[in-house]
């Protein structure tokens, strides 16, 4: 039991430290546009995609090493994406492809 508590504490401290060390930046989706066109992150950082529109969005990237697909994101939803590979990530909205931004992971 004592060790279970210790493990739980270790998990809490370590993951907590992970969150604290990695920056968490938010990019907003409003008026069918991303709030930033370009953003630079460090490996292991998260970028939160917030849908502030009244319509569904779907942020997605096919950039090698950093592929992700948030899926249909309802108005009001915020979804973090953690980037663990250095490189350039081209992000679009799969529904509104004129919504584009670039994430540089260092």
């Amino acid at each position: 039991m004592k060790y279970q508590i210790l493990v739980a504490a270790a998990v809490g401290v370590l993951t907590g430290a992970g969150i604290a060390l990695a920056a968490d930046t938010t990019v907003h989706q409003k008026g069918k546009a991303f709030s930033q066109k370009e953003i630079t992150l460090k490996k292991g950082d998260s970028l939160t995609f917030a849908n502030d529109d009244t319509i569904t969005h779907n942020a997605l990237s096919r950039s090698a090493g950093n592929e992700f697909n948030i899926g249909a994101q309802a108005p009001g939803a915020s979804t973090p994406v953690k980037f663990d590979t250095a490189g350039t990530v081209d992000v679009i909205c799969a529904i509104h492809p004129q919504m584009r931004m670039k994430v540089t992971v260092e």
Partner: protein, 352 residues
């Protein structure tokens, strides 16, 4: 009870998970808050959203020249751009039909009936992405697609280039338009795209109304404009002056064509989704929808009022609307104000 050894293993796993993680990008759990509906815009604010641009739209990598536009017009109307020497771009994008063809579905090589309706090219020069499923990223790229497609114009580009080089007049026209570049797919695409960027809808009664002429459209059409931007939610996709967001939506039609979904199989909202068509000259452009399955604007409004097929891919804005008969008539009256008085298009005397 964990042993001391398993404690260290657990810590090691946590360390690995937090420091190395897996390479790539990972999507975390979503948080949800409620979004306040947009404050209703005033009529004046709405009108401002639909003002026409004052300039034509040419990209930096293919700027306008009269020589390119003239060459592009010749190519656009020239049936030598098809394998059987029978079809030109203008066969399906005919100015007499507001740059579409008046058919429910396009008709290609060997009278082959295509899977989708021929979209009008009117105002395409302002577009961001092309074809019903968005498979072309520029007008230059789009122009070369149907020429080569076996079911459409059925002509390999090398055969086309041979034909143009054999012509008495085309080589000189290419030299004027693209000095030193010659006849090649890039110059053919650029010339056709340059001509297409001149195909712009004429100002319509709606444009006169938003500029201040209250007598330009009927009271029914004015009510229709408010419905279009309100209860009907039409403007969520048919936005801005061309009445399109250049985006992809499933409007609940029952045909089996998955459209944009072919390129984005993992995107739910891309299934059965097609690019929002603009609405300029729309009253002159039946049949409607990507599959040409709807013959009248009244029937279009009926479709949206019913909401179509309810499925996960269907756009959020498409759902039963509960419109009254008068409201439906008002929406149709509004759409009928979007047709301008287009001047006749002069067909060129083709180079031989």
């Amino acid at each position: 009870v964990l042993s001391k050894a398993s404690f260290y293993v657990a810590v090691a796993i946590v360390l690995l998970a937090t420091t190395e993680s897996h390479a790539g990008a990972s999507v975390g759990p979503a948080q949800q808050v409620s979004v306040q509906p947009k404050a209703e815009a005033s009529l004046d604010e709405l009108k401002k959203l639909y003002q026409r641009p004052v300039t034509l739209n040419f990209p930096a990598d293919n700027p306008y020249t009269p020589e390119k536009a003239a060459l592009g017009k010749n190519l656009f109307f020239d049936s030598r751009l098809s394998g059987a020497n029978l079809l030109s771009c203008s066969s399906c994008h005919n100015p007499a039909y507001s740059w579409s063809d008046g058919q429910p579905k396009g008709i290609g090589h060997g009278m082959n009936v295509l899977g989708r309706r021929s979209p009008s090219i009117i105002d395409a020069g302002y577009g961001a992405i092309f074809m019903w499923d968005g498979r072309a990223g520029s007008l230059e790229e789009q122009a070369l697609g149907p020429i080569q497609a076996s079911v459409e114009m059925n002509l390999p580009l090398e055969t086309l280039i041979g034909r143009l080089k054999e012509s008495k007049e085309y080589p000189a026209l290419f030299d004027k338009a693209f000095p030193g570049e010659g006849i090649k797919p890039e110059t053919i695409g650029k010339a056709i795209a340059t001509y297409e960027r001149l195909v712009v809808s004429s100002p319509a009664p709606f444009d006169h109304w938003i500029k201040g002429d209250e007598r330009a459209i009927s009271e029914s059409a004015k009510r229709g404009f408010v419905l279009f931007n309100g209860k009907g939610r039409c403007n969520e996709c048919h936005s801005e002056w061309r009445f399109t967001d250049d985006s992809f939506h499933d409007i609940g039609l029952p045909d089996g064509d998955i459209g944009r979904g072919k390129f984005l199989p993992d995107v739910i909202k891309a299934q059965h989704a097609f690019k929002t068509p603009g609405l300029r000259d729309i009253a002159r452009r039946s049949a409607y929808m990507h599959d040409g399955s709807v013959r009248t604007l009244k029937a279009v409004v009926d479709h949206y009022n019913d909401g179509g097929v309810d499925r996960p891919s269907r756009a959020d804005a498409v759902h039963p609307l509960g419109l009254s008969g008068q409201e439906k008539d008002d929406l149709v009256a509004f759409m009928e104000t979007l047709s301008g008085s287009n001047s006749p298009t002069v067909v060129p005397q083709l180079p031989r």
